[in-house]
Amino acid sequence: MAYAVTVNGTTRSVDVDADTPLLWVLRDELGLTGTKFGCGIAQCGACTVLVDGRAVRSCVTPIALVEKSEITTIEGLGSAAKPHPLQQAFIDEQAAQCGYCINGMIMAAKELLDRNSHPSEPEVRTALAGNLCRCGTHNRIIRAVLRAAHANGRT
């Protein structure tokens, strides 16, 4: 069945079953592989995207539920050549080891900063509590989010 989905400002039609998770539509149909498969059961946060500004787990979000929504993925923020300030903050803090969780971290942080432009450190930790990192990069991730928030204040 055909669905029109709006991702990063562009609407495209995809022909998939109604219960297909958004994750596979993004990665396999639209070629947006920045959003990662981690667990498939909304436990790790690697697949986090924004749906109408809310951070959701795309691995358990059926495509039929988001047809009328604005979806933002990591690719919608910026590129390696022109990173979004939040992405730049992750580069400045060297806030990645393997980097597999980082896309989800950034999207969860994006939601946080959109509703709270100057979070405290505990607020950052709480906002990212559902995003797992295995390399132990957590403190750099927190610093990157706080750095981006600080940059917000200056602009």
Binding site: A96, N103, N131, G136
Partner: protein, 735 residues
């Protein structure tokens, strides 16, 4: 016993003849001189370095990026010696078709082995370029200077490296005679160069093998049995074959998988296959309540190491304690993945294996192909921290791709495949005994440990060491596992104390039988041994009425060991004799990793909620001496990450199982540390430019577990000797 892939009967012969994939033993003719680092086994200069006509360099390494930043560090080393800017050096890594064979990227050895090879090869290539320029310009080489890929004479004449390429012959053996630069003249080494891989990783560019998309690519999934050694009796392949998008159901004996046009179709087909599959279950697993007794009761091969034969003490107080460490999972955030393609009788596999050459050797055996017809190419995966599902999924993908020749098959394991089937870090038992003399110093030390192997990696033994091979109709067995020899050691890694005890003995009970599948997890036995050894030191310090850091120093002459202990005490503002208050306390842990790599000391603070039994580690401090530091921020990142991972292992992690199989299947049944629980970490780096660089990626985990366990004892007055420090265990200890 219930060995998954191999049992006692199969390894009655041949134990002495095994060759370890990660052995540093020279495999060269005696006539050849010994060359440093990985030059020893990859002796040609052009195996490592190519100078291109445009003046850039292509640098080849057999080591691979695992998220540890190694390709940035190696690029710094090569660019430094070549006198080239970093952006004119391209790294090619881990490709059986292109790079040197450096075995596994493991054991914190990449800087020491590949880094040493590249430093010497690059210095030699630079010297050759200077010689060529000297001939061309008619000036002695020592009157020339090289910078930014240009060689200049005093009179202003200049030659770019590209202009010398035609005469540069790198198809010759390295001599390792060209002296590398002195640390004082380093422009790139020692600098916190930002990692080259991070921009793509934070912007969603394809950075991982999981993201590889090839034309015509299909998606596969596999169905694993209920437990080790099960046999597939029947499955309704026809019904699944008729499902939308399904191109092939691949069954070979008890190996079962599916290939579909789209990923979600493959996942649905996997579910259908799983529901219709009927299995004869393999042998039951051991009783988890008795697992440590089981391990101790299995036949073992015993080795006595680290013997010091001082006089037997008289009138000393004697102490004894037993410590345990459970099975632990690598817990990669991204399940393992590979893409495989059969085309014109040749197989290409894109893989995040830590060793593309050893993996190729296993695929060649499993598929009965020629090495020349199989190419393994490394692409990054999610962090692996040792031998996770990377090699197995590559073998799975190859089996699926064989069923759809001409079209590449991408296979990513599901979460429960990874948790249920990867080889875990082994459970271990450590028993320590000591005598404390009247002078408050340790007079005698005896330590025994029981452990399975810490490597069942590809090529770690004979047989075929990839999971699906054991389930094929023409099943191939794994060879007998073996112990990794000292001085690095496997289960006995860091089992020999670095302390100046007058009398000591360490016995390694190597247990070949594996009731649960195990292999290499970051640090191998060091995490468990440093936990036991440093916990016991802390117990003995308390018995001696001594401050634990002072007690450590009283038994240590090595100045570099003393320096990290003193540095961390200062960093943490440690107060001699500081005592916990029942809920909060601090502890110390120290090790020189493998007794031959970096020195690390960690102070950890714990907070104990007595009601719930929850333990938190709000803060940790560390000091590290890794010799010459290549990239300070990269080293700090590895230290921070190692400590946080170790705190997670220590507070939470245990692979649970029952008689019917593995119970860890997702992040609820195998929880790890979350963002609000992560300690603040402060690192002191001690740079020693005149010392060789030492491996560091695995240096902090042992000291960190010991610091946490000792902090718990300092806080509560109670000692927990079994990991992890989970709430039920804490409540029981506190009464």
């Amino acid at each position: 016993m219930n060995a998954p892939a191999f049992n006692r009967r199969q390894f009655t012969t041949g134990l002495g003849a095994l060759m370890l994939a990660f052995s540093l033993d020279p495999k060269v003719a005696p006539a050849q001189g010994r060359l440093p680092g990985s030059l020893q086994n990859n002796r040609k200069l052009d195996a490592w370095i190519g100078i291109n006509a445009d003046g850039t360099a292509t640098v080849f390494t057999g080591k691979v990026e695992l998220g540890q930043g190694i390709l940035t560090a190696l690029r710094q080393i090569a660019a430094e010696e070549l006198d080239l800017p970093l952006d004119r050096v391209t790294m090619i890594s881990g490709d059986t078709g292109r790079t040197p064979n450096e075995g596994q990227t493991a054991g914190s050895q990449s800087i020491e082995n590949s880094g040493t090879a590249l430093r010497l090869a690059a210095a030699e290539v630079r010297a050759m370029l200077l010689d060529l320029a000297a001939k061309r310009l008619g000036v002695p080489p020592d009157k020339l200077t090289a910078a930014d890929g240009v060689i200049a004479a005093g009179d202003g004449r200049r030659l770019g490296y590209g202009e010398l390429v035609a005469d540069l012959d790198l198809d010759r053996e390295a001599t390792a005679k060209a002296a590398p630069k002195l640390p004082a003249s380093h422009q790139l080494v020692g600098k916190s160069i930002p990692r080259f891989d991070i921009p793509a990783k934070v912007t969603g560019d394809a950075a991982f093998v999981q993201d590889l998309r090839l034309p015509g690519m299909l998606h596969g999934r596999v169905v694993r049995p209920p437990r080790y050694g099960s046999k597939l009796d029947s499955v309704d392949a026809a019904a699944v074959k008729a499902m939308p998008g399904v191109l092939a159901v691949v069954r070979d004996g008890s190996f079962l998988g599916v290939v579909a046009e789209r990923e979600e179709q493959a996942i649905k087909a996997r579910e259908a296959l799983r529901k219709s599959a009927r299995w004869t279950p393999g042998p039951e697993l051991p009783d988890p309540a008795r697992i440590f007794d089981v391990i101790k009761s299995l036949p073992s091969e015993d080795t006595t190491i680290g013997v010091k034969q001082g006089p037997a003490p008289e009138g000393a107080r004697r102490f004894e304690a037993v410590y345990t460490k459970p099975y632990m999972s690598h817990g990669s955030i991204g399940p393992s993945c590979a893409v495989a393609e059969f085309k014109d009788g040749k197989l290409t596999v894109w893989t995040h294996s830590q060793g593309v050459f050893p993996l190729r050797a296993e695929l060649v055996k499993m598929l009965k192909m020629r090495p020349a017809d199989v190419r393994c190419v490394h692409l990054e995966g999610s962090g692996c921290y040792g031998h996770n599902g990377a090699d197995d999924v590559a073998a799975d993908a190859a089996l699926l791709a064989r069923g759809t020749p001409g079209r590449p098959v991408r296979l990513q394991w599901m979460r429960d495949d990874e948790f249920g089937w990867e080889p875990y870090g082994p459970a271990m038992v450590m028993q320590a005994k000591a005598a404390l003399g009247a002078n408050g110093k340790i007079a005698d030390w005896e330590y025994e440990l029981w452990s399975n192997t810490h490597s069942t990696r590809p090529e770690s033994t004979t047989g075929t060491n990839v999971l699906p091979a054991w389930y094929l109709a023409d099943a191939q067995k794994m060879g007998p596992p073996s112990a990794i020899p000292q001085p690095a050691g496997g289960g006995d890694r860091n089992a020999i104390p670095l302390y100046d005890f007058p009398r000591q003995r360490v016995i390694h009970h190597f247990v070949p039988d594996m009731p649960i599948r195990v292999s290499a997890l970051r640090t191998l036995g060091a995490y468990a041994n440093v936990f036991a050894l440093e916990s016991f030191m802390d117990e003995l310090a308390a018995a001696a009425g001594a401050d634990p850091i002072a007690f450590h120093l009283a038994h240590l002459k090595d100045p570099r060991a003393r320096a990290v202990l003193e540095a961390v005490a200062k960093k943490a503002a440690w107060k001699e004799g500081e005592k916990g208050d029942g809920a909060r306390g601090r502890g110390i842990g120290f090790a020189k990793y493998k007794n031959l790599a970096c020195y690390v000391a960690v102070v950890a603070e714990v907070e104990v909620e007595r009601g719930s039994g929850n333990v938190r580690v709000p803060h940790a401090w560390a000091a590290v001496d890794s010799g010459l530091i290549i990239n300070p921020d990269g080293l700090a990142n590895q230290m921070e990450g190692g400590i946080i991972q170790s705190v997670s292992w220590t507070l939470k992690e245990e692979v649970r199982f029952d008689r019917t199989g593995i119970l860890a299947r997702d992040w609820a049944s195998y929880p790890i540390l979350t963002m609000p629980e992560v300690p603040k970490v402060e690192i002191e780096l001690i740079n020693r430019p005149s010392e060789r660089p030492l491996g560091s990626g695995e240096g902090s985990q042992g000291p960190a577990v010991a610091a946490v366990a000792n902090a718990f004892a300092n806080a509560t007055g109670k000692r927990i000797r079994d990991l992890p420090l989970h709430p039920a265990r804490v409540k029981a200890a506190l009464g």
